[in-house]
Amino acid sequence: MSWFGLFKSKKTETEKASLSQRLGEGLAKTRARMAGIGNIFKRDVIDEDTIETLEDTLLSADVSIPTCNVIIDGIKARAKQSDPQTAFRDTLIDLIQPLKSDLTVTEGIKPYVILVVGVNGSGKTTTIGKLTKKLQQEGKRVMLAAGDTFRAAASEQLATWGERNNVPVIRQAPGADPAAVIFDAYQSAQARGSDVLIADTAGRLQNQSGLMDELAKIRRVLGKAEADAPHETLLVIDGTTGQNALQQAKLFKDIAHVTGVVVTKLDGSARGGMIFTLAHELAIPVRFIGVGESVDDLQLFDPDAFVDTLLDDN
């Protein structure tokens, strides 16, 4: 069952948005493998079979059951005015459109502090490497703080990304207090006149309250240097995550005051349907999506393109 092959795309080639291009490369391989469930929208009415197919499609993309129900209701409501295909596309886009709000580094705040949090292995450190390059391209001077003092070789990993982008990385010995590392990095970013400080943190599962408290502590300590810091707290969610993504977003939002989400690994066969669930349940903007392991594989979230990529029939 797949998103793909659901529709015969009515769009012209030129209308295809940027996301599809890179994301599409990865997805094309998947699509090629999936038998189209074919042309259910050739019919003019949405019948039970169609609904069931749509439901299956949404569920196999990791959309939660309640969100799936909301989407199906939306489609049914729209189907009266527009053709089923448009109804489906528009319902999906309308749902995630409010999450479109790009990260902007406020002029005049210097250094602008971005704290990066998330569960283990979701792609935090890699995202920092990619984001550094993006911000540099906007003319920002970036510094990194190796706030993961726990995981084996975490700071070496961040240091490599620092070298690749040619930016300084503030690190301390393994086991150092992450709040202290980030606080020191703030002061050094200030001293050196950096525009942006991006702080890495160790992966932690949201049910580990001790480790979650550590994030609260980092906020407190940073707040002593600059009351509004961190100015942005990015939650990095692995795109292959299932229903747990919502729980992650809820708890990290509560404790770490997440202001933006990055969904990674969307170059794989996972469909990232959790974005719909997040849109339905929590209003945290999706800032970027990760589509690979290289430094350029970070894209702005584009709701139209996201939906189109999922619906495109190659």
Partner: protein, 458 residues
């Protein structure tokens, strides 16, 4: 989420009329709930479909213990099937090969491979007294080799150095040769994370596998993985002859349905669960715990099991028959039921386990509830057998004597009699009967804090 599901099941149970067998009709709603539970637990849709269909077919026509409802009985079948599937062919890690035994790790990016290498190495050193060498064939991820070196040092394993300019096959071969020289028992080969749809990287690991012919090829999967577990497991098992699965990050609060997806799709047994970042956080996989976790009906499942185990089946069946035949539900029967309830751990314990009653258990004072049950039993004990069989004969003077004998007020005796009357009426309405039925009936009226007809707790 667990609570919600239980609540939904409650309504499923409510709609049941007591039938002695699992039929299409009496489990239809339950099949739907189980399907939802599996989806909410991240079991992949094709696996959900295949699994529920198999289980439904197996369950149809099965006889239901009188203490259970068909819905409960079906959930037991589902639970047992989950345990069977995930625990079938359970085995230890295979070290029966000429040393050094080679273990190859495979999986998506960030799944937990490198950490698992350290944990597994530590486990084999400690538990099996093996000499373990580890080596990284991850020449892509920044500091991947450093990471394994650190992990190896922490776990006290022999680390074979490699560098990013080498080829994975060369690295692994060199490590195995060195391990032979050093008389190591095991070599664990870490690999880079890769996407199942990345043909070049899948070819790389295929070639690596062919070159080193590992005894174990372990697929590491993150317990938080969603529907994609199916695609990924399929692709990895097509590329590699997977011999086992490690479920990482099982210390989180995900429901872990990926375990079922991966098990059904790859056919490989789940050997271990990762329970934390520390190197001792590796556990032998427990299929029964995982089944309850996936179903999210841990409460229901354990209740069903307890009922099956503890209820005096002979008595329960006798009562069921009696009620079926339209015989009266007398005070003797009421007392039996009360005593059985107590033997199951009392009101509080039962309520905690009943669907939809989880939160209620906190609200109802279970100590008082248990006391009430004791009091009711005491009242019945003070009656003559004749009175228990024919409660109608209990008039004012008898009530006085009974109250005195059991140390309660006359109102208490009245309440008990009234309650018994109502229960008898309801029992009559039910074709089947038994413990579970009574409990359902009770919980139906629990909204107001009390079973129908039960005296309010004081």
């Amino acid at each position: 989420m667990f609570g919600n599901l239980s609540d939904r099941l409650q309504s499923t149970f409510k709609n049941l009329s007591g039938q002695g067998r699992i039929t299409e009709t009496n489990i239809q709603a339950t099949v739907r709930e189980v399907r939802m539970a599996l989806l909410e637990a991240d079991v992949a849709l094709p696996v959900v479909k295949q699994f529920t269909e198999q289980v439904r077919e197996r369950a149809l026509g099965a006889e239901v213990l009188s203490a259970l409802s068909p819905a409960q009985a079906f959930i037991k079948v589902v639970n047992d099937a989950l345990v069977d599937i995930m625990g079938g062919e359970r085995r230890e890690i295979n070290l029966r090969a000429a040393p050094p035994v080679v273990i190859l790790m495979a999986g998506l990016q960030g799944a937990g491979k490198t950490t698992t290498v350290g944990k597994l190495g530590r486990f084999l050193t400690g538990q099996h007294k093996k000499k373990v060498m580890v080596v990284s064939a991850d020449v892509y991820r920044p500091a991947a080799i450093d990471q394994l070196e650190t992990v190896a040092t922490q776990a006290g394993l022999t680390f074979f150095p490699s560098n990013t300019s080498q080829k994975p096959v060369d690295i692994a071969k060199a490590a195995i040769a060195e391990a032979k020289r050093k008389l190591m028992d095991v070599v664990i080969v870490d690999t880079a994370g890769r996407l199942a749809i990345d043909d070049a990287m899948m070819d790389e690991i295929k070639a690596l596998h062919a070159a080193i012919n590992p005894t174990e090829t372990l697929f590491v999967v993150d317990a938080m993985t969603g529907q994609d577990a199916a695609n990924t497991a399929k692709a990895f098992s097509e590329a590699l002859p997977l011999t086992g699965v490690v479920l990482s990050k099982a210390d989180g609060d995900s429901r872990g349905g990926a375990a079922l997806s991966v098990r059904m799709i790859t056919g490989a047994p789940i050997l271990f669960a990762g329970m934390g970042e520390k190197l001792d956080a590796l556990e032998v996989f427990h299929p029964d715990r995982m089944a309850s976790r996936i179903l999210g009906m841990g409460d229901v499942v354990s209740l069903v099991e307890q009922v099956t185990r503890d209820v005096d089946m002979a008595k329960a069946e006798k009562l069921a028959k009696k009620v079926k035949k339209g015989k009266k539900f007398d005070l003797e029967d009421l007392r039996d039921q009360m005593l059985q309830m107590q033997s199951l751990g009392g009101v509080g314990s039962l309520m905690g386990k009943l669907p939809g009653m989880g939160q209620m258990a906190g609200q109802v004072d279970s100590a008082k509830g248990d006391k009430e049950v004791n009091r009711m039993v005491a009242i019945i004990n003070s009656m003559t057998p004749q009175e228990r069989k024919f409660p109608d004969i209990i008039k004012a003077s008898r009530k006085k004597r009974i109250a005195k004998g059991s140390g309660v007020e006359i109102q208490d005796v009245n309440r008990l009699l009234k309650q018994h009357q109502q229960m008898a009426k309801m029992m009559k309405k039910m074709a089947g009967g038994g413990m579970a039925k009574m409990m359902q009936m009770m919980k139906g009226g629990m909204a107001g804090g009390m079973p129908p007809g039960m005296p309010p707790f004081r």
